[in-house]
Chain length 229, copies 2
DNA sequence: TCAAAAGTGTTAACCATACACCCATGC
DNA sequence: GCATGGGTGTATGGTTAACACTTTTGA
């Protein structure tokens, strides 16, 4: 079967930069390509957009197929359309970035023959296509957005300690934060719920576990409140 | 001539939300469509992406063809890909927003049989396709971006008064600003050059004309300076 | 001389920053 | 008892916000 058009059309793909945080550093999900071009190379998860699905649906489908990930935070990043970014011919890619809670999605199972794995953001292998550039843009966006939108919580388990949260911010922003000032500020917003629970199985004083109060945030947001770190 | 592919492909277009400021309010450039669908309706300038041009080049070409505008500030906004946004069939549109200095581009001459005109952002006619939504997204982006990037100057003539600048910010942000605090803050940044000139032909005390110091901004930016209103 | 907008400082409240020690727990 | 991270308050400097009158100019 074939499809014919009066004028030529670029191919349309989606790609995703999936971030996760393991209490040490930021990770990015990569897929090892089985086919040419760039066979054997690592690349961002992604693929062609079907005719009847939204762009976001296409990303979610590809993430599911290639890595088993479902139900993640997803936001459009940028559309890359340089004429020569794909050696097979003109291909425009709408890139998204995703944030996942590592604990919820420990297993990355690949449906295809491809391999999927987490890599530290600071130590990625060479990537296929212009994917290095896409990762760079995503990193910058995350860095900018984390400061004035409460998206950091998407990278932590539902219940987390203040130290985990601080460490996440320090990692994303690439600078140290003062412990007392950080706690003061974040607690003053009143958006964290003290679950009453504490850490288990740690070999030192156990920290309290907090949860982000999504509902309260949405209510405050409507009233003009601005989250800011 | 026809083009055939193994799998179906969406059509790919670009659209632009072009903003201008006339010392009263924000304007948006619209084109009256000559052809179906939506013949006679107003729409954003835009059109199909050619196979050998970048997305940005496509926007610039369309702006030139449809309105005569050249050499404008342009930034990618968002990509709209709902399956039914175009009645002719699946069409994905990469939207950009542009900022132009009205004075530099007073004339909007249309090459096609189409009509081009400026409309107040707050009083747009019904638009074709999902262009109302695109304008809304662009307005929000402009509102957010103007506060921490010196893009407001793209909407003013090269030489402007502090009142013009303040009025622009008040219009974009939709809230009044204190005159003394505004001047103090903006002058403290040291990014405005006093041209030594003053307004001409005004029936009251003439204001000094300032210019934005692009070079100094770029130098400061590299050293970690953050513009902020 | 009137109308219209330009230009100009001070004070008080708030917010960001810097900084060091004791506490609880498991080994 | 020691190693590890948890938890806590204050003082200072800087930033923002509120606020009203005089000056210049052309009509």
């Amino acid at each position: 079967m074939a499809y014919t058009y009066e004028y030529p059309r670029p191919a349309l793909t989606v790609d995703a930069v999936v971030f996760a945080f393991d209490d040490q550093d930021l990770k990015v999900l990569l897929i090892q390509r089985a086919l040419a071009p760039f066979a054997g190379k690592w690349a961002l998860p992604g693929g062609f957009v079907h005719m009847d699905e939204t762009l976001e649906a296409a990303v979610r489908r590809e993430l599911k197929e290639e890595s088993g990930l479902g139900n993640v935070f997803l936001e459009q990043l940028y559309t890359f359309g340089e004429p020569n970014r794909d050696p097979r011919g003109r291909t425009v890619s709408v890139a998204y970035y995703a944030l996942v809670k590592l604990a919820d999605h420990q297993l990355v199972a690949s449906t295809d023959a491809k391999d999927a794995a987490w890599f530290p953001l600071t130590d990625l292998p060479p990537l296929a296509f212009d994917h290095e550039r896409i990762v760079k843009v995503a990193r910058r966006r995350l860095q900018g957005k984390v400061r004035y939108q409460p998206i950091g919580f998407e990278l932590l388990p539902k219940k987390f300690t203040l130290s985990q949260l601080q460490h996440l911010y320090e990692t994303v922003l690439e600078r140290p934060l003062d412990k007392r000032n950080f706690r003061k500020k974040i607690l003053a917003m009143g958006l964290l719920i003290d679950t009453g629970e504490i850490q288990q199985d740690v070999s030192h004083r156990a920290a309290r576990l907090f949860a982000f109060d999504q509902k309260k945030y949405q209510a405050l947001e409507k009233k003009g409140f601005n989250f800011e770190i």
